[in-house]
């Protein structure tokens, strides 16, 4: 008999992690932590957008700013699309605005990484709790 989505523990955790990476806060949202998911979504997306607004889309550069990009891509896989735009070099980046933009977008990515780990851990704890009950 085929196992349901939640019965396959590893698949469930991977799905929650992937969901949390795809859309910030979606992992918690899927775990019925709606307010928590909403707070995470608004905070991370706002921080990321402020970073792009301050530094321009050019701050996402997988070629010339690879370490920053590694953190930025933790926001969502869609950042890879912005990375293609930034890597063309058509968008000017310079000065303090670039530093601030890179810091904002990278910190947003690292915060989302924290939320991904937290969502997966919460899902694991719930599964263990349900198994013991």
């Amino acid at each position: 008999m085929a196992q349901s989505w939640k019965d396959n523990h590893a698949l469930f955790l991977i799905s929650i992690g992937a969901l949390a990476w795809l859309v910030p806060g979606a992992g918690h949202f899927a775990l019925n932590e709606r307010t928590r998911g909403l707070v995470i979504f608004v905070s991370i997306v706002l921080t990321f957008l402020v970073g792009i607004y301050v530094g321009s889309v050019g701050v996402i550069d997988p070629v010339h700013a690879r370490p920053w990009y590694a953190a930025q891509v933790m926001n969502t896989p869609l950042v890879k699309l912005l990375g293609r735009i930034g890597a063309t070099g058509n968008y000017r980046v310079f000065g303090r605005a670039t530093e601030i933009g890179q810091i904002y977008t990278s910190i947003a990515g690292l915060l989302n990484l924290l939320c991904i780990v937290n969502a997966v851990y919460t899902a694991h704890l719930r599964h263990v709790g349900e198994a013991q009950a």
Binding site: V57, R96, L111
Partner: protein
């Protein structure tokens, strides 16, 4: 509507003009707010408006205090190395 949309998107393609001066350090404040809110969102048992806002505000204040302390210590080290040490070395008998 299209003009507004184009202007909005255009704003994301050119960097803002931010001078390198002490006032530019104020840009850390919104970032610290974001860090405090997201961190507390992952830590609190249940999110209710006022307790959550209070906890986030406390963390925001704590981070700021530690940033100021770190800045004062770094400023002190820089002052010793650049202002005091050269004169001490020039007076040294070695």
């Amino acid at each position: 509507m299209m003009v507004f949309l184009a202007t909005m998107l255009g704003n994301f393609t050119t960097p803002m003009r931010i001078d390198t001066n002490p006032a530019s350090m104020l840009w850390l404040l919104p970032l610290v707010v974001s860090i405090a809110v997201v961190y507390k969102a992952t830590k609190v048992y249940k999110i209710r408006l006022w307790p959550f806002a209070r906890e986030s505000a406390v963390l925001f204040g704590s981070i700021l205090v530690f940033i100021v302390v770190a800045a004062v210590i770094l400023y002190g080290i820089t002052w010793i190395v650049t202002e005091q040490l050269p004169s001490l070395l020039s007076r040294s008998t070695f």
